[in-house]
């Protein structure tokens, strides 16, 4: 496994991302901007769902879907570039898998809430169960953000010489 990751890290594209300052930092910047947008908009949906800002028509949040899809694509693409730059560092770290799992679960929950509210505007269903799901979504988004930051501090393997 480590041999494979080392080979991947020796590829031209990995070196290019890692050692071209603007590519690496460009990816970091786009990753941060897009994650702020995607996580931020998801938090807004979930705050509404748990009972804050109650006068926002919950079903209308669906209008932000095209922008969140674009944000998500940017997050994924920039994240992939960052992963290709340091594959061994990320893929050998359990925190990376925690981050991915939290993102995936948070996305499914948020998507489900938005889709459900769009179909049944004004919102229907059991308020207690909906709120619990929204709180879980909030916790998962915060976990993914924290895991993203802890990734930079918890790696055990660093093969590349150039490191930010």
């Amino acid at each position: 496994m480590m041999y494979l990751l080392a080979r991947l890290e020796e590829t031209l594209i990995s070196e290019w991302i890692r050692e071209t300052g603007w590519v690496f930092f460009g990816s970091l910047i786009f990753h941060s901007l897009a994650l702020a947008l995607v996580v931020g908009m998801s938090l807004a949906v979930l705050w509404r769902e748990v009972g804050f800002a109650a006068s926002i028509p919950a079903g209308r949040f669906g209008e932000f879907i095209p922008l969140s899809k674009l944000g998500l694509m940017v997050v994924l693409l920039s994240g992939l570039l960052l992963l290709i730059a340091y594959p061994a560092k990320a893929l050998s770290n359990p925190v990376f898998y925690l981050k991915l799992t939290a993102i995936l679960a948070a996305l499914v929950i948020t998507w489900r809430i938005v889709a459900n509210n769009r179909l049944t505007d004004p919102v229907s269903g059991k308020p207690g169960a909906r709120r619990r799901l929204a709180w879980l979504g909030l916790c998962l988004w915060l976990t993914s953000v924290a895991a993203g930051r802890f990734l930079a501090y918890t790696h055990n393997v660093l093969l590349a010489s150039s490191f930010y």
Partner: protein, 168 residues
């Protein structure tokens, strides 16, 4: 200035916490959470001012702003902890200086917005656009906060004292 901040960090215990095993990543996590809260409220409101998701009433969306204030407060606190724990990495860093400038600009834009445009924005119905002045301020706010995020990431790129700064 550097000595003053470092002294504060050491006396208050912030320095010891930040340089412990998990101090920096914990505070970074809070800083990023604050950023998401800010963009998820102020940023979403700015996007609506610019004409996105027009069926969402602006007056209702404004109820999310307290989350933005909470996010900004969290980031002021966590940001101060970074600054006092490694002042030389921030004070002489052009990315940090630009970030502070953008925060001041965003603050001035916000004050101007509440003094001159918010009254009319409250009465904008769903499906309608606010006045051009309010849209311009929404765009300015979004641009400033985006620059704050960009400069925040670039702080690690510039390693003082090898780069230009205002007073070195």
């Amino acid at each position: 200035m550097v000595d003053l901040l470092l002294n504060f960090a050491q006396v208050s215990g912030v320095y010891a916490f930040m340089h412990s095993a998990w101090g920096w990543p914990i505070i970074e996590s809070l800083h990023f959470t604050g950023m998401c809260l800010l963009i998820g409220s102020v940023g979403v409101f700015d996007l609506r001012l610019l004409g996105m998701a027009r069926r969402v009433p602006l007056q209702a969306l404004h109820q999310l702003i307290p989350f933005g204030i909470a996010g900004f407060s969290l980031n002021m606190l966590s940001g101060t902890m970074f600054l006092v724990s490694a002042p030389d990495q921030y004070l002489f860093n052009p990315a940090f200086q630009t970030k502070m400038l953008m925060i001041i600009l965003a603050g001035m834009n916000m004050l101007l917005f509440y003094r001159t445009a918010m009254g009319a924005v409250r009465t904008v119905p769903a499906d309608a656009l606010p006045a051009p002045r309010a849209r311009l301020m929404g765009g300015t706010s979004l641009a400033c906060w985006s620059m704050v995020i960009i400069c925040g990431r670039l702080i690690t790129y510039y390693r003082p004292p090898y780069h230009w700064c205002f007073w070195c």
